[in-house]
Every structure is written in structure tokens, then in C-alpha cells.
């Protein structure tokens, strides 16, 4: 059974690229355009195997999404990776505080993305 990944990014081109990359590696992908959309999309799901989220998005940003997910029992242990364009301490502190599992710096090579995800959920 394929693993399910929720990919959240307001940039269509990045989202499509990520989804394509993940799908070609055999994952099932749920796409969302912002945090709120992400929550709506997985409402019906009991859980997902991994969440990949961008940080800067309209309506609901990445950190808020992570915090919200962590507040829900079925997602409290789900691996969540932040896609970020910077690796500042501030970002790290905030991400960690929100409950993220880790981060990937943008722009990233699709292979690297797969490598990291594989490490996390196989």
C-alpha cells in the first residue's frame, strides 16, 4: 500500500513538481494550496504518513498548520517537514516549537526530497 503524503504549497509550480516527484516514487499525494486547505483536505483521512508544508502561504501559514495538526490526536505523531527558504535559527526555533519533525531548505533537488522522505517514512 502506498504511503500518503500531504503536500502544502501556495505555489502551483512547486506543488506540481513536488507531487509529480513523490508520485513517481510511488507515494500517494494529497495537494493543498495553503494551511486551511490542507486541513480541509485531510479531514476525512484518519491520518497521513507525512506532511510537507511550505511556510509562507496566505490564509494559514505553515507554522500554524503544524501547530494545528499537532493539536489533533491523529496527527500528533505524523512526520511533518517544513519547506523553507532559509535555515535561520529563528526558523528552527519556531519550527521546533510548533512541533515540526524537520525541515528541508528550498530550493531542493527532487532526488534529495525523495531521499529525505525515504529516510523518514521509507
Amino acid at each position: 500500500m502506498a504511503k500518503i503524503i500531504l503536500a502544502v504549497d501556495d505555489s502551483t509550480s512547486i506543488r506540481q513538481m513536488v507531487a509529480f516527484t513523490l508520485k513517481s516514487a510511488g507515494y500517494t499525494v494529497i495537494e493543498a494550496v495553503d494551511g486551511q486547505d490542507g486541513l480541509d483536505k485531510i479531514k476525512g483521512q484518519a491520518t497521513v504518513d507525512l506532511v510537507l508544508t511550505d511556510q509562507n502561504m496566505p490564509r494559514m501559514d505553515g507554522l500554524t498548520l503544524i501547530k494545528t495538526l499537532r493539536g489533533q490526536p491523529q496527527f500528533s505523531a505524523t512526520p511533518i517537514l517544513m519547506l523553507t527558504t532559509e535555515s535561520s535559527d529563528e526558523m528552527k526555533t519556531q519550527g521546533r516549537a510548533a512541533g515540526a519533525t524537520g525541515w528541508i531548505v528550498k530550493p531542493f533537488d527532487p532526488h534529495k526530497l525523495l531521499e529525505v522522505i525515504k529516510k523518514v517514512i521509507g
Binding site: M1, R15, F20, E86, F108, D109
Partner: protein
């Protein structure tokens, strides 16, 4: 597996164009004294998205410019300093440069490198100026950062631009050094009871680095390991299996990699930051030192919530993190654990066996279906190619023609006898009309697509001319056919520039005349009947009647002082006409207004000017709502039917013999209310045999186009129809005198007269 990124380029181009457009309108709408947080955020996000996308798809020139832009915008939205007009100008300029670069990638257009470098320099200068200010201020307050370092508000641009800004902390992070270790260890049955055990160990080793040149011999194994881990850490991996003396390791250091290669990281323990895994790597882990030593994350650049003891013993560590698998499984080499992330457990209860299968839910097939959706998440619209829409319009056009033919065929039947047929066809006509309206509306777009760019035009033009101007837009949601939008853009541009340049006065003059120093240009659009009416008006000085008359005389035009104002204003549409005292690059060259009129008339529209001296001017453009359907008058000449577009017809009349005169060298003219109009007999023009030769026996249709009038002689008027225009060019070839063709209800083909061409012919 290699992934072809170019399939995503088109989406990126469109997406970036939208971001650039929204960035510009937001910048123009900003109130510089009290900018709204939402707007600043949105502007930042637009730049941020462009940077992210361009970096991902390798358009580094775009990334470079956007990088500067984004960091300034980020600091602005964090209110580190106030926004100035100078900054907005630089941002707008950056937007222009980005558009240019984008066009370069998308269409292969030449890029203006100079502008690109210029704008980057400008942005950098702004960044420096503002960080310097803060630094100075902070020094004064004694609040600067650690000695020798930049102010905490400054940002150090990392070399690896593509990776994004790294606002580094005060203490420099230890550079990560890559090492190559040559390792040799025994391979006896005592050490590794089975191959599985050896593989387990090798897998654990591969978590901290890349194994190469592996040689497995009977008694020993040699391999080289490229890793960022230290020798101690490498040894740690083996510590479970061997005593230190059994292990042979030689280490060679490779130059430190500057750029953040790994680009990811995990949050584990704060101690991990100090252990120095992140920074240069581009990833970081809040992993606790033990975990690091176990060599799980580090080099690879991922961090996990785990401490090695916990991994090995499978017990929930004090931090409350759990594992996917229990340690027995880890040791026995069951997949997961090695190098996979471990996540925090809820409730801190010991649950060593949180297997991945447990977390995963049934794969619902329904999900796959939604993944394949063409629409983007949350959208209620879809992108459709214009070609498909045009095809649809064409097919509906055919349907209308067929329906008209049926209606005609049935028209002669007894409606009582064939009542079901007649009723059915009436219904068909209604349905077809609705379908046609619906399909036409698909091509309709709000005129705001054209109006929106004028905010920038007015802003820049006003600044350049030293005038204060505001642009008011009314009815920007009014829709018109996509084809019309493209055609109307240039004429509107010319009209707006005219108002800016010649209509509106400089603030001093306005004040002297008791006006508000700020002038207003109004763009208004509305539907009126089957037309769309667009108005460009200003509250400037208005047209100067005397100057126009004088200029007209200069150009040799026939004028007299008793001409009405409306007639005088029409003179500005004459070719080469301009009363501008000074020709600027904004306008004044006198090639504008006549081109404007011609362009508008070419799409079946009309232009009118009204003006009041000292108060302002208004130009009104009337356009048909669509280019595919025409309201026309069908006329008969011999056994042919021609369609005359209603928009050009002023009236039809049957002339009296005495009103027809012949002027030598000019042919026949007809006297109508004091005017002598050239007469064009269609039967003579198109060589059609007909019984009606004398104008007094036929009908004269008075046409007006491009300011000229002619009288067209036809046999008789047939009726008024709405016809579907079929292109002659695509189906046959361009025919002089005809602007298209259509199929009548009886199946006959009727040509649509090119009135503009006809009038030109007649008035030469």
C-alpha cells in the same frame, strides 16, 4: 530516475506573471504613510513565491533579483524601517526587470542586463542604508550584537543565494568537514554470525556516510566511507560489534563544503545546534549529542527525534520521543529504524513498537481520483486554451445557422397542421440562443484586465510630467470579448496619455483656475444594449476650439467658424493632427487619434469626443460585445444578398430623380439635406446583373465610416438579422470589399460588406 522539470515551466511562467501583476497593483495601492500589514505581507509573499519557484526550476537570474527584493520586503513587513517612495519606485522597477527576465526565459526575448544589474544595485543600496541606520541607532543605545559582528538587524547574504538567506547568529558555526575514512574490520563468524548481521552493521554505517569501494573478503571487510562525521563517531558505529583494536580506520579530510548541500534538518534537541551539525549543511537537527555520535543524522543532514540509547534499547527516551520499531527489530535488521525519522509520541507512554504499518491507514482509492483532478485545490475555475473556446464558438455558430435554415424551411408550413414541428423549432431557437449567449460569455473577460495597468501608467506619467493625477476606475468588472480586450488596449493607452499630457494642467495652473491641484482621469465601462461603452475622461483644460481650427486650416482641411463643437472635435481624428505645442515622448506626435479611430472602427466600434473648455474632455468608445456575431441589414442586388453592419448605417431612403447629379470626374452624387454624398452602385461595383439601374428605382443606404459618408445603391432592403460571421480568409481568401460572409436561413451564402473599405473607395 530523473525528473524532467521543463514540464512545470509553463505553470511557473504563468504563476510568476500573476505574482508580478499582483505585486505591482499592491505596491501602487499602498498608503505610504500607513501601509497595511496585510498588503505588505502579500507583496512579500509574491516576491517570496517567485524566488522559490525560480530557484527550484533553475532560473537563477530571476532568483538573484528576487532575493534582494524579498529580503527588503521581509524587513519592511516586520516594520524594521519605514517604506518610502524611493523604495516603491525601486520595487516597481524590480518588477519590470523580472518581467523582462521572465519574457527572456519564456519567449526567448532579449533581456536588459543593464537594468537588471541597476535594480539589484539600487535594492542593495536601500538595504545597506537601512541596516546602517539601525546599526547606528542601536550603537547609540548600546544594543549592538556581539563585537565584530553585524547588527542583529542586518542580514548577511549567504554565498549560496539559491538556498535562501541565512540570518546567521553571532557565533560562527563550525564548518562541516567531509572526511573519507578507509575502514577495515574482521569478518569472522564470531563477529558476524550471519550475513544479515554484517548487512545490519553496514546499513547503520551507511546512515552516517556513503560507503564506497566495499570489498567483502572471507576474513575481513574493507571499504571507504565519505562522511561528515568525526572519526570518533564512526568508531561508535562499530563499538557494538568490535573492540577498538579490531578496527582499522584511516581518515583523510576533504575541503569543507561551503554551500548547504543537504538542505534539510530535523528538530530534536537544542544541544544539537551547538554540536554544529547545521548551518553550512543547510539542515540541522535538534538532536541530542548522543544521537549525533551514533551517527544517524548528521552528515546526511536530517535530524531525528531520538537519542541513541533509546534507539538501541528501544525505550522511550526522556524527551518523550518514540520510535517506529523496537530495538530488537533494529538489531535484527528489520528495515525502518535505520535512518528513518522518529517521532514524538503522544502522551509519553512507552510504545516501542509504533510500526509504520500501524500509522498508515488504508489506501483509499478515492484519494487517487482527487489527485488526478485537473483543477488546483480550492479553485472553482479551470484553465482552458483559447483554441478550444474558439472551436466551441464556431460550432455553436454552425448550430445557429442550421437552426435558422430549419426555421426558414418550416416558415412556409401550416402552423396548425405541423404544430408540433413549429413549437419544437421555436423551442430550438430559444435553446440555441441561450447556448450561443452562454458560449459567447466564456470568452468574456472583465475589462479590468486592461484598466489595471493604467494605474502604473498614470503614476509614472504624472511623476514624469510633474503633475498630480489620480486614476478613478468605474465598472472595471464589465465584461467584453477577449479578442476586443487585446485590440482596445493600445487605443485606451493613447487616450490616457493624451489626458495626462495635454488634458490635465500642472498643479499651479489648476490652483490658479480654482481647481483641485490633483487632476482626475476617469476610466468608465458599462454595458448599453448590445454594446459596451468605455469612457476616458479628465477634468483638465478641455479641447481648445481655436487651436484646432487654426491647425486644421494649416493642414489644408476645409473648415469654417460656424462648425459646431462636435464637428470641430472630430477634426482631431484627421491623420497627422496635433495641436500640441511640444511633442513629448508621451504623446503629441499626431499619429495617435486617427489610428485610435481606425482601430476602434475596425472592430465595429465608434468613437465620440465631448469637451468643455476649462472643464475637461471625454472620449466615448462604443464597441459591439462580440466579434463573432453581427447585427446587419440584409440588402438585395440582383439575386444576391449582402449584409451591411448596422453600426455604419445612418439611414436608408429612396431618392428622387432630381436629387441625383453627376459631377464630372467624381461620378454620381446624391443630394441629401444640403450635402452631396458620393454614390456607389453595388451592382456596378460587383458586376451583378440587375434590373434596377436607376437610383430612383432602388434604395440608397447612407453609410458613414471614418468620418466620411457615402450612399450605397441597392435594389431593395430585405430585413434586419443577427448573423454569425464566417471568415473568408480562413475558408477562402481575403476579398476586397468584403469583411466576411454568413449563411442565411435559406442556406444561401451572403457576403458582409466591408463598409470602411467601401467608403474609402467612394470618397477617393
Amino acid at each position: 530516475m530523473s525528473i524532467d522539470m521543463s514540464q512545470f515551466y509553463q505553470v511557473f511562467f504563468e504563476e510568476t506573471a500573476e505574482h508580478l501583476a499582483s505585486m505591482e497593483s499592491l505596491l501602487l495601492a499602498l498608503n505610504l504613510d500607513a501601509p497595511e500589514a496585510d498588503q505588505l505581507d502579500a507583496i512579500f509573499r509574491a516576491a517570496h513565491s517567485i524566488k522559490g519557484g525560480s530557484g527550484t526550476f533553475g532560473f537563477t537570474d530571476i532568483t538573484d533579483v528576487t532575493h534582494e527584493l524579498e529580503s527588503l520586503l521581509d524587513r519592511l513587513r516586520k516594520r524594521e524601517f519605514a517604506i518610502t517612495v524611493e523604495m516603491v519606485d525601486a520595487f516597481l522597477q524590480a518588477g519590470d526587470v523580472l518581467r523582462n527576465l521572465l519574457a527572456g526565459h519564456q519567449n526567448g526575448r532579449t533581456i536588459d542586463i543593464k537594468a537588471s544589474i541597476e535594480v539589484c544595485a539600487k535594492l542593495e543600496k536601500l538595504a545597506e542604508e537601512n541596516s546602517l541606520q539601525n546599526h547606528v541607532a542601536l550603537t547609540a543605545l548600546g544594543l549592538t550584537g556581539q563585537a565584530g559582528n553585524h547588527s542583529p538587524y542586518g542580514e548577511r547574504r549567504s554565498e549560496a543565494r539559491g538556498q535562501g538567506t541565512s540570518s546567521t547568529p553571532a557565533e560562527p558555526l563550525p564548518a562541516s568537514v567531509q572526511r573519507i575514512c578507509q575502514i577495515q574490520f574482521p569478518n569472522t563468524a564470531d563477529d558476524f554470525p550471519s550475513e544479515v548481521h554484517l548487512n545490519n552493521m553496514l546499513e547503520e554505517l551507511s546512515n552516517i556516510g556513503k560507503i564506497e569501494n566495499k570489498e567483502i573478503a572471507n576474513q575481513s571487510v574493507t571499504l571507504s566511507l565519505s562522511t561528515y562525521a568525526s572519526e570518533a563517531e564512526v568508531r561508535d558505529v562499530f563499538s557494538f560489534f568490535f573492540k577498538p583494536e579490531q578496527l582499522k580506520i584511516t581518515v583523510a579530510e576533504v575541503a569543507a563544503k561551503e554551500t548547504s548541500e543537504q538542505g534539510y534538518g530535523f528538530f530534536v534537541e537544542p544541544e544539537a545546534v551547538k554540536s554544529g551539525n547545521d548551518g553550512a549543511q543547510g539542515y540541522g537537527f535538534f538532536t541530542d549529542p548522543d544521537a549525533i555520535k551514533s551517527g544517524v543524522e548528521d552528515a546526511q543532514g536530517y535530524g531525528f527525534f531520538t537519542d541513541p540509547d533509546a534507539i538501541k534499547s528501544g525505550v522511550e527516551d526522556a524527551q518523550g520521543y518514540g520510535f517506529f520499531t523496537d530495538p530488537d527489530k533494529i538489531k535484527s535488521g528489520v528495515e525502518d529504524a535505520q535512518g528513518y525519522g522518529f517521532f514524538e509520541e503522544v502522551g509519553n507512554h512507552a510504545q516501542p513498537e509504533v510500526s509504520k504499518t500501524g500509522l498508515r491507514k488504508e489506501d483509499s482509492p478515492g484519494r487517487r481520483a482527487t489527485d488526478e483532478r485537473a483543477t488546483t485545490a480550492g479553485d472553482t475555475s479551470i484553465r482552458v486554451s483559447v483554441v478550444k473556446v474558439d472551436q466551441l464558438v464556431n460550432l455553436v455558430g454552425e448550430l445557429v445557422i442550421t437552426q435558422a435554415m430549419l426555421a426558414e424551411a418550416v416558415g412556409n408550413l401550416d402552423p396548425v397542421l405541423y404544430d408540433r414541428l413549429v413549437i419544437g423549432l421555436t423551442q430550438l431557437e430559444r435553446n440555441t440562443r441561450n447556448l450561443q449567449d452562454s458560449v459567447m460569455s466564456v470568452r468574456m473577460m472583465p475589462i479590468n484586465l486592461v484598466f489595471s495597468r493604467f494605474q502604473r501608467v498614470v503614476r509614472d506619467g504624472a511623476i514624469k510630467l510633474g503633475k498630480k493625477v489620480q486614476l478613478v476606475v468605474v465598472g472595471e468588472g464589465t465584461e467584453l470579448d477577449k479578442g476586443l480586450i487585446e485590440t482596445i488596449s493600445d487605443p485606451l493607452n493613447h487616450l490616457v496619455r493624451n489626458s495626462l499630457d495635454h488634458g490635465l494642467e500642472v498643479p499651479e495652473v489648476r490652483i490658479a483656475n480654482g481647481k483641485d491641484p490633483q487632476g482626475t482621469i476617469t476610466l468608465r465601462a458599462a454595458h448599453q444594449g448590445g454594446n459596451i461603452v468605455i469612457e476616458v475622461s479628465d477634468d483638465g483644460a478641455g479641447l481648445n476650439r481655436e487651436r484646432i481650427l487654426a491647425k486644421a486650416r494649416e493642414n489644408g482641411l476645409l473648415v469654417n467658424d460656424s462648425m459646431s463643437d462636435t464637428e470641430v472635435w472630430q477634426l482631431v481624428f484627421a491623420p497627422g493632427f496635433s495641436t500640441a505645442a511640444v511633442i513629448t515622448d508621451v504623446s503629441g506626435r499626431g499619429v495617435g487619434m486617427d489610428v485610435v479611430k481606425k482601430n476602434i472602427e475596425s472592430i465595429g466600434g465608434r468613437v465620440e469626443i465631448t469637451s468643455k473648455h476649462g472643464q475637461g474632455s471625454s472620449i466615448i468608445i462604443r464597441l459591439p460585445l462580440t466579434l463573432a456575431i453581427l447585427d446587419g441589414l440584409s440588402v438585395a442586388v440582383g439575386n444576391q444578398i449582402y449584409i451591411v453592419p448596422l453600426g455604419f448605417i445612418s439611414e436608408s431612403l429612396q431618392p428622387k430623380e432630381e436629387d441625383i447629379k453627376v459631377i464630372s470626374g467624381q461620378g454620381q452624387v446624391v443630394h441629401v439635406r444640403g450635402e452631396y454624398l458620393p454614390m456607389i452602385a453595388l451592382h456596378r461595383l460587383f458586376n451583378i446583373p440587375t434590373k434596377i439601374i436607376s437610383p430612383a428605382e432602388g434604395i440608397l443606404v447612407l453609410l458613414e465610416a471614418e468620418g466620411k459618408k457615402v450612399a450605397m445603391l441597392v435594389d431593395e432592403l430585405v430585413g434586419q438579422h443577427q448573423v454569425v460571421i464566417k471568415s473568408l480568409e480562413t475558408n477562402y481568401r481575403k476579398v476586397t470589399g468584403m469583411s466576411g460572409a454568413t449563411i442565411m436561413g435559406d442556406g444561401r451564402v451572403a457576403m458582409i460588406i466591408d463598409v470602411g473599405g467601401l467608403v474609402k473607395m467612394g470618397t477617393q
